[in-house]
């Protein structure tokens, strides 16, 4: 079996697992399935849940596309591959919950191979979290999960892919990050196929581990029109990002991909309000002030953390947030020029 079959099997199984997990979490709606074929070669299956108990809209897509002419825009960093035979498999999801206290989230996992003799291949993907009314402990849990997924493959990966995520999910015209980030990576192949694939699986497997506990904690949080309207307004930023910046969206649309599967990421209801600004001191201002900029979430804790901390652990850490860290020694930064750091108890 070729490499791509292994990856495809994993991704198809992951789509099933994630959809099953989300249905369980939702408790009301189920995913509808939409299989499609791509005229140029390949196809996929989009799964969509609407009007659920938790999710206003949830889309989880699998696709496997191939062709004889690798589009130039897919190989920005590898112009020599343009025009060659290529295959791409991927899973992509965007979840839009009803409750504004539950964050929107996105994940993507993809594998590319180009050329037929000695093909070039690489993995890409990641996940990010977009809260409306953030809870600091949720953000810490999310990043703990991201770091734990990366850790077995090198301590430098989390800070590198966390920073890449902050840079990628950035709305320049708003000077805001899309949310609180997570992981973003591309061109992953330097550790060889087996280890790179294991890394992809580690990230894929950790998605529900990161997101589910946050949903479970916030699912019953009461909200009213104010929170709903703020959610609808902030969803506008999601639309702006996806249509103005997102490479996957733009590439998909420009290359004749299936429009409905690509734009499944757009929220079901959205508002734009001219020149809206949060009231000083409001919960909405907290989002802008404290969460829509790159932050070293885990490093700021200034305390030792279990890399595989269960969610409960993060809560305990939360109580120590910004407290001094007695008897601590700063460890060498995994990323020398960055602000990310980790320290440990003596």
């Amino acid at each position: 079996m070729s490499h791509i079959d292994d990856v495809k099997d994993y991704l198809v199984a992951l789509q099933n697992r994630i959809c099953a997990g989300l249905e369980q979490l939702d408790g009301k709606a189920q995913f509808a399935r939409d299989a499609w074929e791509r005229p140029g070669g390949g196809g996929g299956e989009s799964r969509i849940m609407t009007d659920g108990g938790v999710f206003e809209q949830a889309g989880v897509s699998f696709s496997h596309v191939f062709g004889d002419q690798m589009p130039a825009s897919a190989t920005k960093t590898r112009p020599e591959l343009a025009g060659k035979h290529f295959q791409a498999v991927g899973v992509s999801l965007v979840l839009h919950p009803h409750n504004p206290y539950i964050p929107t989230t996105h994940a993507n996992l993809r594998f590319f191979t180009a050329g037929e003799r000695r093909p070039v291949w690489w993995f890409g993907g990641g996940f990010d979290l977009t809260p409306y009314y953030p809870f600091h402990e949720d953000v810490l849990h999310w990043h703990e999960t991201a770091r734990a997924a990366c850790e077995p493959f090198g301590a430098e990966l989390y800070p590198r892919y966390k920073e890449w995520c902050d840079k990628y999910f950035y709305l320049k015209h708003r000077d805001e990050t899309r949310g609180v980030g997570g992981l973003f990576f591309d061109d992953v192949n330097t550790q060889g196929f087996d280890k790179s694939f294991a890394f992809l699986q580690s990230v894929g497997d950790s998605f529900l581990r990161g997101y589910r506990p946050i949903v479970e904690k916030r699912i019953a949080h009461p909200f009213g029109d104010r929170q709903r309207n703020f959610q609808l307004y902030r969803r506008g930023r999601y639309v702006e990002f996806n249509l103005l910046y997102d490479r996957g969206t733009l590439f998909g649309l420009q290359s004749g991909g299936r429009t409905e599967s690509i734009l499944m990421s757009l929220p079901p209801q959205v508002r734009w309000t001219y020149n809206w600004h949060p009231e000083p001191g409001s919960a909405e201002e907290t989002l802008y002030r404290d969460y829509l900029r790159p932050r070293d979430w885990l490093g700021e804790l200034n305390g030792w953390q279990s890399l595989s901390s269960p969610y409960g652990n993060v809560q305990r850490l939360e109580t120590r947030y910004e407290a001094p860290c007695p008897g601590l020694k700063k460890l060498r930064s995994a990323k020398p020029r960055g602000s990310w750091r980790r320290c440990t108890l003596r």
Copy 2:
């Protein structure tokens, strides 16, 4: 007084006239004014009306920006001007009515000048109409008005700019036009300044003449949730166009323009629904089938029309739509390869 001052005076007065006309039409809300300065040079005034009697949101912006470094993206067809001193004045408007039977509309009028000794200058602009539940007579009136605005400057202008409009306001990923079009032009200067400016004024002056009668006719048309939801859904296409394709929007955002003034064009409320299709035989399907593709609206009438027809005239013409045109002689086409044609009674 320099050329740009003349144009600026006209555009400022036009903004005032259009806002006054829209307030009168709305009957309830008034425009709020937001003056702003551009750090790089210049500024503008955005006027916005929200929650009006007719308009859910109406934005009419004036701007006058200048600088020493003409952005390369502003001069696609004139690379030799990149980096030169430039000035640009413009009025831009987008109107989003409450009632789904009233079309959304957009207009833009702009003047560019680049270089200091023997500056190069040109006009650009146009207007287009985006109905949800179109009335054929409204579309005819709109295009009659567009043609009448162009007519004094050459019979070839309307078909040329009408076709350009169809091509410009086209959503490739949907294979749909944004609406029923109108006029779109750029690089207008071949007839000399006075005549080119007069053309711009003719287009600017005709905007309310085209739009107001349509609003007045549809203002009391009853609608329910079905029509409202379809309007919100179709507004998604407006967002898609503006963020994916619109040169003005993308250039404005990329060049550090005032985000809120640029994105004032986005509708206040929008829906996306996965893989939605209109029911066969429904009013919604009529829009897709008959209106979201380039059509030779006036040529199809196959009958003589007064170029300066009052609105009532169009209604009478409507009754003759697709009827044979006895005793007619086809005139030479103003645009030889096109499908546009005009015929006259013997």
